[in-house]
């Protein structure tokens, strides 16, 4: 009966359309080889799921998904992609069998668990009977703000949110400790056992300084042969092609 009342809701067409788009995007991500297109499609996937969350009345979640999933994580994936090859190598069929089995098994388990899920919008579901109702009642009495989500996150669950803030802080701290704010772009020195090492001599000098030294070298060598001002740009482009083919 719950299912029938859900089916008559006009938003179900929108929900089904959005889910269909999600499936199509997911399959195209799996089929693609170009990492740039894959990163962009992941942003599209996040944006479509955000639209779907809005349709499910989970506006706060949709907001976060659109800002984090479609915005920041796409940019971070792009930055990570620039350090790798532009295309992924095709995986042989023999290596795809085990992942396929895992996916089929997990999918079957999820379909099996659907029977225990409460129907959409069920008033007797755990989310609508437990502590959630209590928060909704007490927010109007104790905190006097309209948005219950903010009240729960910042006040009733303040410890959890403090923990999340510390987690985000430690993530930033870890990145800064490992990479530094400039990505260690040529501004570091190390002195293991009294011997000073600078970026040009470092074994893994793939950063800006090694590039600039490489650039100056190619300029001096090619300036003799070809006295045009576009040599630096040409050599830069060639170097990127080399890097991309590695």
């Amino acid at each position: 009966m719950m299912l029938a009342s859900y089916a008559t809701a006009p938003t179900i067409i929108l929900d089904l359309a959005l889910m269909a788009i999600l499936i199509i995007v997911a399959f195209s991500i799996v089929r693609m080889r170009s990492l740039f297109a894959i990163v962009m499609l992941q942003g599209v996937y996040s944006l479509v799921s955000a639209a779907w969350f809005v349709s499910l009345d989970a506006v706060d979640v949709a907001f976060t998904e659109a800002a984090v999933g479609a915005g920041v994580s796409t940019v971070l994936m792009l930055a990570a992609m620039l350090l790798a090859n532009r295309k992924s190598d095709p995986v042989p069929i023999s290596k795809q069998i085990a992942p396929l089995l895992v996916v089929i098994f997990a999918g079957l388990a999820m379909f099996y668990a659907i029977g225990d899920m409460p129907a959409y919008g069920d008033v007797n579901s755990p989310a609508n009977t437990g502590v959630g109702m209590d928060y909704i009642d007490r927010t109007t009495k104790e905190i006097h703000i309209p948005n219950v989500v903010t009240a729960v996150l910042a006040s009733y669950r303040g410890y959890d949110t403090f923990g999340e803030a510390v987690v985000i802080f430690s993530a930033g701290l870890g990145v800064l400790l490992l990479l530094g704010l400039n990505g260690n772009a040529g501004r570091w020195t190390a002195s293991p056992s009294g011997q000073n090492i600078y970026p040009p001599m470092a074994p893994s000098a793939n950063s800006r300084l090694s590039v600039s030294s490489d650039n100056s070298k190619s300029v001096t060598s090619s300036a003799v042969k070809e006295p045009s001002s576009s040599t630096t740009r040409k050599s830069k482009r060639k170097r990127f092609k080399d890097k991309g083919n590695n």
């Binding site: 976060t64 920041v72 903010t150 910042a154 303040g158 704010l181 990505g183 772009a185 590039v211």
Partner: protein, 146 residues
């Protein structure tokens, strides 16, 4: 030299202030509508990241210096934890904002605003820090190498 990104540059220069303004709307309207410190922080960081993507990392580092980032991310967590310590000093439990004002409901408002500001500060600076750290690892990419 002819710049192929004139439209992108003009439009994003127009958009960046509005994105930042929207972030602050999300922050300070979080008690009444969807949103809050986390979403606002990510949107504010997205404004800086968009600026960096269009005008280059060096311009973004001039607009939002990396030295702010370290201070900001710690300040955010300190503001959140400091609110909890303040409620301790005023005689309440950790993060029970009711003691911050005579009327417990007003105290809750002050506490929520303080911790949301802490979240905003922390999230914005961490997102920008991660972007700076990853974005500085390779030089600018040519047009035809994407």
């Amino acid at each position: 030299m002819h710049d192929p990104h004139v439209i992108l540059k003009v439009i994003s220069k127009f958009l960046v202030p509005f994105i930042a303004l929207f972030a602050f709307y999300v922050q300070f309207h979080g008690d009444f509508g969807p949103g809050g410190g986390f979403q606002a922080g990510v949107i504010l960081a997205a404004a800086v990241i968009l600026y960096a993507l269009i005008f280059g990392l060096d311009a973004a580092k001039k607009a939002f210096p990396p030295s702010w980032v370290r201070v900001g991310m710690s300040l955010g967590v300190l503001l959140y934890g400091g609110t909890g310590v303040l409620t301790w000093i005023l005689g309440g439990d950790f993060l029970s904002y009711g003691v911050l004002a005579h009327d417990p409901a007003h105290g809750q408002h002050y506490g929520i605003i303080a911790v949301e500001l802490g979240i905003l500060c922390s999230v914005t600076n961490v997102m920008i820090a991660i972007f700076y750290a990853f974005g500085s690892r390779q030089p600018e990419v040519d047009e035809d190498n994407w």
